[in-house]
């Protein structure tokens, strides 16, 4: 079925994965990757609210230089728990566990992931880890910073370090199992004709992400395990009194936590690689380079972690080596950015909401990435390490990049997930509100950082107040930008306009099945004979395109139903 701009209203298919079975047990014991994705959506959104609450407390407290809202101890707990929740319980799972779980089998033409029960187990492990961490938060909180640096976390902190660390440790297994599932699925479950280089770049991005999950997460597991054992049983690896070394903790911690940031951004890049060709009506420029760049980011990302430790007394040689590698890791990201931009050139661009998020991503990720280079430059880093410059840098990438990718992806695939379309104009307004709120929140933080305001401080000199106030004001606008989609997407799931199989239309295999899909995804195993993003050789899309290779010519813009 194709979406048509005029004609009779579409109807939802009779049978699909949402109405296949009823009852709470059919959801909590499901092995359907699509239902599991929705379980993840609910859980991740819950933790997003919690992390957002802590963010609100931070920004409210920082409205005044002398910090009237929270005690110093309480403030330490706020920024720590904001970090732990957002990093481990929101950013790391978000796109892979929700969109990855839902889409990967559909995109490769499989009935489900390789290990559906392990998929469900992964969600339960996340819940258990989350409960441990929540328990820690209400039973003493956590004030060590999300980085848990020793010996403060192991010896001196009197917050609930052990349960929180156990919670994050458990959560790591969730990540490992998801990564394992994706890797094996992509290797062994592709439909006939779906060769590696016909895979959507979303799948390549998740493949690269899964490599990072598999190779990196176990290291944070052992690190936190050792820290917990030190705190509870008195093992001494990080304890200077026994001859242990706090820097060893930092090495082990960042060996995972740097690649972790690539776990957060690669899936978002995968989303962007789907959005831009669709809304520019043009094949992605340099498919092979973008696929290779995803793998390169995953691999090189493991070689740079010591750039978080430039100020720990490293020798110049080590610092120079890691700084150089940090500059190298920017190259594959730049390749991708150039290729996305080149895809836009000569394309037939429409400004649907997912595309607005993609544009937001392009600009904001670029700023975030470039400021990362400033931080990677040794001389500069000495001055801006541990200042708000760092905070602004990573928020530009994580919120301006990853969250934009997440929201863009949610909007783009919402018709596939629910069978119904979100309200376009409201969504565009929300995207603008989010963009404006985001920049007001975090751009002043670059300035604060350059001016010297340290991060994780509960007070600041009065001359910084104007920027802090601007930042808090921006945060309230940003909050509206987040709440609006939560409301209208939920509304649209039940009452939105029925979307049809392929409302955009887009070229992926997931769009060739009904919306919402059947539980088994496809009624007949598809046989793939076309290349990815090939708008010219897909007459089934109903686009006004000259077939065969060559210039795009005149192409109907993406869905203009409303």
């Amino acid at each position: 079925m194709r979406a048509e701009a005029t004609g009779p209203a579409l109807k939802l298919p009779e049978k699909h994965y949402l109405n296949a079975t009823y009852g709470i047990r059919s959801w909590l014991l499901t092995t359907d990757h699509k239902r599991i994705a929705l379980l993840w959506l609910a859980a991740v959104t819950f933790f997003f609210f919690i992390g957002g609450f802590f963010a609100m407390m931070i920004r409210l407290h920082l409205l005044t230089p002398n910090g009237y809202l929270l005690t110093p101890d309480m403030y330490n707990r706020m920024f720590t728990m904001h970090g732990v929740t957002m990093v481990f319980f929101f950013l790391i799972p978000s796109i892979p566990a929700i969109l990855g779980n839902f889409l990967i089998p559909l995109m490769i033409g499989a009935k489900d992931l390789a290990f559906p029960k392990i998929n469900l187990l992964s969600w339960y492990i996340y819940i258990v880890g989350g409960l441990f961490t929540l328990w820690a938060m209400v039973n003493g909180g956590l004030d060590t910073g999300w980085t848990f640096y020793t010996p403060f976390s192991t010896l001196y902190s009197n917050s609930a370090v052990a349960p929180a660390v156990v919670g994050v440790f458990i959560n790591g297994f969730s990540s490992i199992l998801t990564g394992l599932n994706f890797l094996v699925t992509v290797h062994t479950m592709r439909a006939p004709g779906m060769t590696w280089f016909r895979l959507p770049l979303f799948v390549w991005a998740h493949y690269a992400t899964s490599i990072v999950m598999i190779l990196g997460t176990p290291v944070i597991a052992i690190t936190l395990g050792l820290a917990a054992m030190e705190r509870v049983f008195g093992l001494g690896f990080f304890n200077p009194a026994m001859g242990g070394d706090p820097i060893l903790f930092q090495h082990l911690f960042w060996f995972y936590s740097h690649p972790a940031v690539y776990i957060m951004i690669l899936p978002a890049m995968g989303v962007i690689s789907e959005l831009i060709p669709t809304f520019a009506r043009k094949r992605l420029f340099g498919y092979h380079f973008v696929a290779a760049a995803s793998l390169a980011i995953a691999v090189i990302g493991f070689l740079v972690w010591t750039h978080h430790m430039f100020l720990t007394g490293q020798s110049t040689y080590a610092a120079v080596a890691f700084s150089f590698l940090t500059f190298i890791v920017a190259i594959p990201s730049a390749i991708k950015t150039f290729n996305w931009t080149a895809t836009l050139f000569g394309g037939s661009i429409s400004f649907d909401t997912p595309m607005l998020y993609a544009f937001g991503f392009l600009g904001l990720f670029m700023i975030g990435g470039l400021t990362g280079l400033f931080l990677g430059a040794l001389g500069v880093d000495i001055n801006i390490h541990d200042t708000y410059f760092v905070v602004a840098h990573f928020h530009y990438i994580m919120v301006g990049g990853a969250v934009m990718g997440y929201l863009g992806g949610l909007h783009f695939w919402w018709p596939k997930i629910t069978g119904r379309m979100y309200p376009e104009w409201l969504a565009r307004i929300a995207a603008f509100i989010l963009f404006i709120g985001f920049n007001f929140t975090f751009f002043p933080q670059f300035i604060l950082g350059i001016m010297g305001m340290p991060r994780r401080y509960h007070t600041y000199p009065p001359e910084f107040q104007i920027y802090n106030v601007m930042s808090t004001a921006g945060a309230s606008i940003l909050a509206v930008g987040y709440l609006l989609p939560m409301v209208y997407l939920t509304w649209a799931a039940f009452y939105g306009k029925v979307a049809g199989d392929n409302p955009w239309p887009a070229t992926g295999l997931e769009w060739k099945t009904q919306s919402p899909p059947l539980t088994e995804n496809f009624d007949v195993t598809p046989v793939v004979t076309w290349e990815a993003y090939d708008f010219h050789n897909r007459p089934d899309l109903g686009l006004d395109v000259p077939s065969g290779k060559g210039s795009p010519g005149v192409v109907a813009p993406a869905h203009g139903d409303d």
Binding site: H187, L215, V219, G243, I247, L248, H251, L252, F255, F302, L303, T306, M309, G313, Q314, S315, T316, Y317, A318, A321
Partner: protein, 118 residues
């Protein structure tokens, strides 16, 4: 079913027996070598023998020798990443001029070459 046979190479009990006897012999050699004073090479010998043992287990007991190329790539990736973790972290320690009063050999070489400006 015959399709199983040509993808699954069955290793004979005789081979397994030969391997276990080799492993036991190597264990004996490791213990013996520990009692010989080789200075700083004791650890090198011990790790070398352990690696030979591990290789035998991986190749024969775990059938890696007969596994598809993909499996071999996974094994090599794992070993490579472990090496990354160990060697890159050690490079930080090794290049610190004076870590806990212990001078690492690499530091001495570098300082010597560059005239002690590190």
């Amino acid at each position: 079913m015959s399709e199983q046979e040509h993808t699954e190479h069955i290793v004979s009990p005789g081979t397994y027996l030969a391997i276990i006897l080799t492993l036991l012999a190597l264990t004996g050699i490791t213990v013996f070598a520990a009692f010989v004073n080789l200075g700083r090479f004791n650890i090198v010998v011990a790790l070398l023998i352990a690696t030979v043992k591990a290789t035998l287990v991986v190749l024969i007991f775990m059938h890696a020798k007969y596994a598809p190329e993909r499996t071999k790539l996974v094994i090599i990736a794992g070993i490579f990443w472990l090496a990354l973790l160990l060697f890159m972290t050690l490079s930080d320690y090794a290049s610190r001029v004076d870590y806990r009063g212990v001078r690492y050999p690499m530091t001495q070489i570098i300082s010597h070459t560059l005239g002690n400006r590190g």
